[in-house]
């Protein structure tokens, strides 16, 4: 793996083979979809058209092969876009609908965004909504399919007018006669009047030039907010099924403990209890209310064994640097032979929890050989896979409906609560809802991996940085078998997601990065920002230390070591923009006790620059203001982008100042928000977001790349104020 390979923006668009097929008959609605099949490496697209599906109600039978983008236009001219990503609050339903509507020339008033599920618009890998990849991966395919549909409607519209295609124009969900704009047929009318089967063009229709975009690049209002402000939006915790009862599950006293012995005890005779379910390694209760189910758990006769007694210092000893060995993930030049004076520092990021406001929740109805699951999940494909294994059903027999998600941040994969609801429903023979308590969510999920980073660099007498060495130690993300695969680790020698953001993109002649895989007996996995969070903290703090060691301005230092080419230009624009907006060059005029800190980030295609203004009074650190310039390539929805950045900054400030999960005797010491407070409105800095659109394609995401740049900007500001370095989160004076 070399730096150059890794730091390139993601390949634009998708490389895929397209084949087309016409299905069915009837004239009620036109639906069109495209499949990207197979493992993500072998990408193949199949475009499929089907006139048989009516808009609205669930299809009588699922399409033989569900395309990942499913678009229907009914005779009423309403376009239903089945969005193949889950709405976590990031506004993805709106953003993807904007892209489709633009290319299809839809009237925004006639667009309805709906959640795709396992029956429509489902691809188990693609629907996994994480890693800030939704827009970059879908921008090109959605436009291509939109253009195809638009051109088919244009051709058919012209035919129905008895005119040449050149004599009509499309716009606002209709086809117009150019000479006489009063004559128009809506898409719905064209579809209703269509005789015979639709024929798909054999070549890809041309995409609109960006100068003609109507929705892409606009701050279109979110499509999901009316339901959200009226309380109508349906989340996993809100699902109610006929005859549904409530489940609760016994939890181990320590991580890794398993049931040595489990018996019903007198749980069955407790009030309101419907069933006690004991299966290998699992004990739960189904009752008429959540309270009664939880109360009855206390009456089970359980004995746990094994489990870890690990404590916080032991975890930090396991996840530590510097150390021998490790896997080389970047090597440019000869670090050891570069010579020069050595500067070094070590950084640490503790465990933290997601604390998404909606705890884990799912409802399941398992009936013989089929199952229906409603779940707050970012990963419906993974949820289905884990449920299928747990209840011994074919994946195809399990219908997963992703609900609105009350915060994800990597925690909502449905691999725990979805499985629990399904197991309980199967055993009890009734629909069962399982909603975790905050205490369960705080203690029994997986959490942000603890990480430790060690950097050293050598500097010449003239102040040139000659070499840089970075060592990363982290526990698992993708190698956690609950959500990923431990096997991968044996192949790669790294956890690729924990290594994110760990490469050095600064143009220092000799560079080396080593990853140490440090598993701990406490479950860790996805968290907002993945590895780019601790790695960006370490690198960007160290860059500030290097700037100081070479008597350079932190901005000048970064500009001097920019990567070459287009990426360097994007960096330069972003860094200068945030410096200008924040008054970086005039920071000497700030009063005593106040200072600015600079940080940047490059995360999966997105370039970020952050300046934090911090004040220190007595024992109190306060982040007063944060400026952030961010360039993800093309910005599809500037206001939505700003919202993601604002949220990321709040998240970063909370992590930097407050959050830490501590383990004692093999269990989290905090149970609820009393032991794990979150940042509040009063602690929130004033935030300025500068979205920068570069190029005509989205190349990076927005939900995560900013998070990692916030703590180092704060730490660097603290160093400017106090003269001390803050190398361990959360920062304490």
């Amino acid at each position: 793996m070399s730096d150059t390979e890794q730091s390139k923006p993601e390949k634009r668009g998708m490389n895929r083979r397209t084949f087309l097929k016409v299905l069915g008959g009837g004239t009620a609605a036109l639906a069109v979809g495209v499949v990207i099949g197979g493992p993500t490496i072998v990408r193949e697209a199949r475009l499929r058209i089907n006139q048989a599906f009516l808009s609205g109600d669930a299809p009588t039978s699922p399409p033989p092969e569900s395309p990942f983008v499913w678009i229907e236009i009914g005779a009423d001219n309403q376009a239903y876009l089945y969005i193949p990503k889950v709405e976590l609050g990031q506004g993805i339903h709106t953003t993807l609908a904007q892209i489709a509507a633009d290319e299809m020339e839809l009237d925004w008033q006639q667009v309805t965004a709906r959640q795709a599920d396992t029956e429509r618009g489902f691809d188990p890998q693609l629907i996994f909504t994480f890693g800030s990849t939704s827009v970059t991966s879908l921008y090109a395919p959605i436009r291509e399919i939109g253009a195809t549909l638009r051109e088919m409607l244009r051709v058919e519209g012209a035919r129905q007018f008895g005119l040449d295609v050149a004599a009509v124009r499309v716009g606002n969900s209709a086809v117009f006669v150019v000479e006489d704009e009063q004559r128009r047929l809506t898409y719905g009318e064209i579809i209703a009047a269509k005789q015979g089967e639709w024929v798909l063009p054999t070549t890809q229709a041309a995409l609109k030039p960006s100068s003609e975009f109507r929705y892409i690049g606009q701050s279109v209002q979110r499509v999901d907010l009316r339901d959200k402000v009226t309380g109508r939006a349906m989340y996993g915790y809100d699902v109610r099924l006929d005859g549904m009862l409530y489940g609760a599950v016994a939890r181990p006293p320590q991580y890794g403990a398993t049931l040595k012995r489990a018996a019903a005890g007198d749980a069955e005779s407790q009030p309101g209890v419907f069933a006690v379910v004991i299966q290998d390694g699992f004990a739960g209760v189904v009752a008429e209310s959540r309270r009664k189910a939880r109360a009855a758990l206390e009456h089970l006769d359980l004995e746990w064994e094994g489990g870890t007694t690990i404590t916080q210092p032991e975890i930090e000893a396991i996840v530590s640097v510097p150390r021998e060995g490790g896997t080389l993930i970047q090597r440019d030049g000869d670090v050891d032979g570069a010579g020069g004076r050595r500067v070094e520092a070590a950084y640490r990021v503790p465990m933290a929890i997601h604390a998404q406001m909606e705890p884990q929740a799912a409802a399941a109805h398992v009936q013989g050989d089929r199952a229906m699951i409603f779940c707050s999940t970012q990963a419906p494909g993974l949820t289905r896979e884990r449920i299928a294994a747990a209840i011994a059903l074919d994946e195809q027999a399990i219908h997963v409906v992703p609900t609105m998600v009350g915060g994800g941040f990597g925690r909502k994969t449905g691999v725990d609560v979805g499985v629990e609801a399904a197991l309980l429903s199967q055993a009890a023979g009734v629909p069962v809802h399982v909603g975790w308590t905050r205490e369960e969510d705080t203690r029994y999920g997986y959490r942000r991996p603890p990480a430790a980073n060690f950097l050293w660099a050598t500097v010449s007498d003239a102040g040139e940085v000659l070499a840089i060495h970075h060592e990363i130690a982290s526990s698992d993300i993708l190698l956690n078998p609950q959500v990923g695969s431990a096997f991968l680790g044996t192949v790669l020698g790294t956890d690729p997601l924990a290594a994110y953001g760990g490469l050095i993109h600064y143009a220092i002649p000799n560079r080396r990065v080593v990853y140490h895989h440090c598993p701990i007996p406490v479950p860790t996995a996805y968290w907002r920002g993945l590895g780019s969070f601790p790695n960006t903290f370490a690198i960007e703090s160290f860059i500030d230390e290097l700037a100081e060691a070479t008597s350079s301005d932190a901005l000048d230092f970064r500009l001097r070591y920019l990567p070459e080419g287009e990426l360097g230009e994007r960096f330069s624009t972003v860094l200068n923009a945030v410096a200008d907006a924040s008054g970086w060059h005039e920071r000497d005029s700030l009063p005593a006790g106040r200072g600015l800190g600079f940080a940047s980030a490059y995360d999966r295609g997105t370039v970020v620059g952050v300046v934090a203004e911090v004040s220190v009074t007595d024992a109190n650190i306060r982040v007063e203001r944060v400026w952030c310039a961010v360039d993800p390539g093309l910005v599809v929805n500037p206001d939505g982008a700003a919202a993601q950045v604002q949220g990321s900054i709040v998240w970063g400030v909370g992590s930097a100042l407050i959050e830490e999960q501590v383990i004692a005797n093999g269990m989290s010491t905090s149970q609820n928000f009393d032991g794990y407070p979150l940042l509040t409105i009063a602690q929130t800095p004033e935030i300025t977001v500068l979205p920068i659109s570069s190029g005509d394609t989205p190349v990076g995401g927005l939900g995560e790349p900013v998070v990692g740049a916030v703590p180092p900007a704060i730490a660097n500001a603290l160093a400017a104020i106090t003269g001390r370095r803050f190398r361990r989160m959360p920062f304490r004076l």
């Binding site: 309380g231 998404q356 009350g406 928000f673 940042l679 929130t684």
Partner: protein, 160 residues
Amino acid sequence: MQLSINGRAYEVDAEPDEPLLWVLRDALGLTGTKYGCGLGICGSCTVHLDGVATRSCVTPVSTIEGRAITTIEGLAQLVDDVEVLHPVQQAFIDEQVPQCAWCMSGQMMTAAAFIETNAAPTDEEINVAMGANYCRCGCYTRIKVAVARAAELARERGEA
């Protein structure tokens, strides 16, 4: 027991110490009121009791019989069968505040009760009034703007 919720009478069969939150959500299906912590810390479960913002997760249902309960489902008004959003709801859409929105029923109920008592709040007063409502998505910047906007909208409507 009898509960009056959003102007409607409900007959509920609940244990006296059952928190109002779970009666609303599980017994009555009013799932717009959200659960976040059960300890009175996060504010997700906020409803109005006789117009006062109250955390339903720590309110035993037996203590509120006969009082007027308003939940997020009852915040908008039906005028000639058309749903007219409360100024707070309108402002939260105008300012595009919610992200995941799990916290938002609580935020809006807190804000709605607050602007009844303070028609032109300052930033500082908003920080205090909204200071114990968590939002993990980090919508605080917009909440601040939207609460001020809601107060303004309410004034405009009052004058109209």
